[in-house]
């Protein structure tokens, strides 16, 4: 699935922890849903989007910087009409593309995205209960059914070999009892599941991705149940269910929801690995340390000089001054990359996931099959 270039970059990063193997590119802030836990579509609304020419220049710079993986995210990436060209810009240069969607991509868009080289997809799915999912997605009707329809289409167009499919599941009080079902459902479809605990902030501390809605926070009386569910999905993973998350990451979810200090950064003086191992790009092509923070100054990554900027010590100090004051996040990929690069057990687990233990895929799967499978899993859990 990864090009040789990406494999070499990843291998170097595991040893030296100093090349940006993973970049989150927020190619648009536009979205056709307003999920209650997501704030990034508003936080990134103030900048223009990159042109395709600028994106090609970003891809050129990524080659020089040895970037291995770029996540194309948003907003809804499929809202961009030129998404296939964007995918091609990176894949044709040997940079692995992970696509993300809320599930509203149509068949033509999916076919073109795969044809352009996309072999790695993540779809948001928080529950097997359609009404609950629609509510989480901002009270849009049929959004759950659309997500399953999109899953089916990806299993139709993506190759069985050398491809990766995952479900992004936000772990919050409203759906925590559904998470085991999502993992079981994903496994039945040969899709991994990855959990992200809900991130909440307030008006005096705005952060790019974090919702202001205090009612979505875990309450102390829910901590015990949340811990119990995390342990149950950990057990499921150990039994062979396709849960992507490492032990260290799951442990940190438990800390995060209780607002306790995180431990995944402990091997780097409690600072994350931005910009050494990962960073984010705003829709206008500017560098940002992550989805929560921006720099005061503007550094477009499509600029020819960005490679020199990236190596510059003064610039690195500017980034460090931002990230060192962060209380820490649990946005899936950032902590998991640090954990994979700095913790041996997780490193081996990740190698196994991507290189040796790919699930046998019973693809293509029909939409009807997925709906029935979801229904049967829900019924099973009702009786437990």
């Amino acid at each position: 699935m990864f090009s040789n270039r990406s494999k070499v970059s990843l291998a170097k990063a595991t040893i030296f922890q100093n090349n940006p193997v993973y970049v989150q590119f927020y190619i648009t802030a536009r979205c056709n849903l307003t999920c209650e836990q997501c704030n990034i579509i508003y936080a990134n609304s103030d900048v223009r989007e990159c042109s395709l020419d600028e994106i090609n220049r970003i891809a050129d710079n990524f080659v020089m910087m040895r970037v291995a993986i770029v996540l194309l995210t948003g907003g809804e990436p499929f809202a961009r009409k030129d998404l296939p060209e964007i995918i091609y810009a990176f894949e044709s240069r040997g940079i692995h593309v992970r696509m993300q969607t809320n599930g509203f991509a149509n068949e033509e868009q999916i076919a073109k995205a795969v044809e352009a080289g996309g072999r790695d997809i993540s779809i948001s799915l928080d529950s097997l209960n359609p009404e609950k999912q629609d509510n989480i997605n901002g009270d849009f009707s049929k959004s759950w059914h659309k997500a399953l329809s999109t899953m089916a289409l990806f299993t139709k167009y993506m190759p069985k070999e050398n491809s990766f499919a995952s479900l992004g599941c936000v772990f919050q009080p409203k759906n925590m009892q559904d998470v085991e079902q999502v993992v079981e459902f994903g496994t039945a479809a040969s899709w991994h599941t990855s959990l992200v605990p809900i991130h909440v902030t307030d008006y005096a501390n705005p952060r790019g991705f974090r919702t202001f809605d205090q009612s979505l926070k875990f309450q102390p009386e829910q901590y015990e149940e949340a811990d119990h569910i995390i342990e149950k999905v950990r057990k499921m993973r150990n039994e062979g269910y396709l849960l992507y998350d490492s032990d260290e990451y799951l442990n940190n979810i438990k800390l995060f929801i209780k607002e306790q200090s995180l431990t995944w950064r402990r091997r780097n003086e409690n600072i994350c690995d931005s910009p050494n191992l990962y960073f984010a790009i705003l829709p206008n092509g500017e560098f940002s340390p992550c989805c929560d923070y921006r720099l005061k100054n503007s550094y477009p990554i499509y600029d020819k000089n960005f490679i020199n900027v990236y190596k510059n010590k003064v610039w690195r100090k500017e980034v460090k001054n931002v990230v060192k004051n962060c209380e820490g996040c649990m946005y899936g990929s950032y902590p998991e990359i640090t954990i994979s690069m700095r913790f041996m057990k997780a490193k081996l687990q990740r190698i196994k996931t991507f290189l040796t233990a790919q699930p046998k895929k019973n693809w293509p799967l029909s939409y009807d099959f997925l709906v029935e499978k979801a229904q049967s899993i829900r019924n099973k859990y009702k009786t437990i």
Binding site: Y42, C50, R80, S298
Partner: protein, 107 residues
Amino acid sequence: MPKKIKFESFKNQFLINANETNIIADKNKWKKFLLNLNFLYEGKNFVISSKDNKDLILKFNINDAKFYIRGDQDNKILNSSEDDIKIYNKDFFNSIVKILATEARFV
């Protein structure tokens, strides 16, 4: 009911700029003030009020901000090397923060 995207964007951009502003001397008091703000969507207006000060009500036209400028269409804005939209919005929201800070007697 789905959230109003322009309203939420306006609220978010206002709060980001309000938290980054350097025109306020007493930062702690300002942060407490921000925590007690209310935001409403009335017609085309973004309305800011305060739980601390019932006389403080400010209205701004939501359409004066420029949001979600596309990159996948022919667009003259994309030809500029700088992001003029970002610069415009920064100035616009800073001016709102200044008006609020003045009305609430922080400056």
